[in-house]
Amino acid sequence: MQFSGLDCRFERLAAPLPMHRARVDATQWSALAFAVATTKGRLVSLWGSDRRAMGDGFAVATAYATAEGLLWVELGLDVMRPAYPDISRFFVPALRMQRAAHDLVGIDAEDSVDSRQWLRHGAWPADYFPLRIENTGQERFAPQPDNYPFVFVEGDGVHEIAVGPVHAGTIEPGHFRFSVVGEKVLRLEERFGYTHKGIERRFMGMDIDEGARLAGRVSGDSTVAYAWAYAMAAESAAGVAVPERAAWLRALLLERERVANHLGDLGALGNDAAFGFALAQFSRLREDWLRANFEAFGHRLLMDCIRPGGVARDLDAAAAAQLRRDAVALVAEVAELKDIYDEHAGLQDRFVTTGRVAPELAARFGLTGLAGRASGQVADLRVDFPWPPYDKLAVTASTQFNGDVAARVAVRFDECFESLRLIDALLAALPDGPLDVPIAIRDAASGAGWIEGWRGEIFVALETDARGRIARCHCHDPSWQNWPVIEHAIIDNIVADFPLINKSFNLGYSAQDL
């Protein structure tokens, strides 16, 4: 395949979604970024690797989403001077990913406007790169001084509010630096990396099955999406296709995860607008849903249910019938609660116009997933590249254009109903057959997985070494794209609305700190 007339050859990966891979030189690297940007493609991910163990140098890779599918593009870098042309001028979300690639592998984006550290705080020195092969990842260092240069806002009456890393509620750690005048937010700067626990280093040397367990723990709320993306990557590396029944059960698990998260968030959003009734009701529905998960699949959050080659558990006819009745019953419950939300003037007053991301801003910043769809960015892998079983289900993507908290609430309600419809359809026509196929990787191979999780597109790139063990596994979360947009969504809002705005996106910390 060729893309936009560029003279680099893309090989199609063996995967249910259209994914293509090519090696490029530095000129093609920049030309391709430009071509993707001008054809309204999106940057999915950017990461670095150390290939010296395979007699190669360093490498930087990107994944782009285009109308033709995913393009996995790789640029080899000089060992002595590992640098590559910056692509953040085409894709804003690349900035933090480039900074992370520096912290982990020690490769640099030339002429980048921001080269501050990102994942590295004070736990390891600036000249230590955990993913380089001369390091084991087991090194220990005395804490280093960590003087992160936040952007300072000056002016009459401007003051700073520093929040985190430990937050007031039960949420993940991160730091928010607000510059405010009175109650109004002039600027927000985020700083993450607090939950960085060395996941990408941990992957190195694992076998395929161990890796599946780790991928399922990149982000607990998206464990199914990660497990599926990882399994798809492993299957694509091994060149096997999963049986039909396994694919259908995977979709069932993914939609159940989506519903569970939307139920939790819809309740929490009501609660953040002081509507405690909503939290009580939605958290009750979520608990019922999680208990049903446990009964049917043996795990409340559905961890380890998907494994490379297929699924770990079957569903008998009685359990399937019960899950189907549950889905039908839940539609009625959520519909009733939606009416209450819609009619509640106090709630709507807090939701409407709050934390607005206009479609133009969303497009410029590459806002993706659920939050993107609330700001007119129409993209959903289940619709754009329907892979089995979504090719039989005609998924409808929800789209809103107001981009405020109310729009993100509306998308959540829509997607909840659509997922419940899908669950019903999946259970009604669950095909018979085996649950998995044997999968064995005994040499150097590579593959990719691309899944529409509840938060947005999850991408996994997997490469094995000559013994079939993991040489590099990169997991990407849509939080990378969406966090920088929150810095804009909050501008001119009041500080007290930040929890509401933040919750309406509900982005991951662990998912991107890795």
């Binding site: 990842g137 993940e172 939950t195 060395g198 607990g220 549950d326 009733e336 700190d513």
Partner: protein
């Protein structure tokens, strides 16, 4: 408003009509959680303030701690409150392997809690370091960073297990729990 009242009237008890197609014996964990409730009330006399710190977890444990607040487990009804400041807390719940970037924040939170203080490590990662273990980025289990009274294994542990862990912590440190007969006179210690 009428709509809301009607909805509440129809859902007096959690699980009662949530899923009319299910039998009421849906989950054994509900019974277990309910068995623990009287013990907690007796020991606490309706007052336990908990500060939670995510030391670097995958957020799975956070979801299950959140679930403790739902109407099934109803921990606020037992007098257990999650508080925003460690200065107000009697107990520290810690999840995750402790990332090296959270080590200092966790130590500071621990130091800020008035004595006597209890620490409960939640989840396989908090207990042993879990799948992430120790590395350049992770300190591993919680007890590598601060003293831990009770560990609650599980990946993630279900809410009833977390509740049981909280109760166990109150029992293993009798200095914090008064005699059962005088539970209502119990006042948390300040220093």
């Amino acid at each position: 408003m009428w709509h809301i009242l009607k909805y509440i009237a129809r859902h007096r008890r959690p699980g009662a009509s949530a899923s009319p197609t299910r039998s009421p014996t849906l989950s054994p964990s509900r019974h277990r959680a309910h068995l623990i409730h009287p013990d907690i009330l007796a020991i606490l006399g309706r007052a336990l303030a908990i500060r939670h710190v995510d030391g670097g977890s995958c957020n799975g444990c956070e979801l299950e701690i959140h679930a403790l607040n739902n109407p099934y487990y109803n921990i606020e009804g037992l007098g257990i409150k999650f508080v925003a400041s460690p200065r107000h807390a009697d107990m520290l719940l810690v999840t995750g392997p402790v990332s090296r970037h959270m080590e200092l924040a966790l130590k500071r939170t621990y130091d800020a809690i008035p004595a006597p203080k209890l620490v409960v490590a939640i989840g396989d990662c908090g207990c042993t370091g879990g799948i992430f273990g120790e590395s350049y980025a992770s300190c591993g289990r919680v007890s590598n960073v601060i003293p831990v009274d009770v560990t609650v294994p599980g990946c993630p542990p279900p809410p009833a297990d977390i509740l049981a862990g909280i109760l166990t912590a109150l029992r293993v440190r009798p200095s914090l729990a008064p005699d059962e007969g005088t539970a209502s006179d119990f006042t948390p210690g300040f220093n």
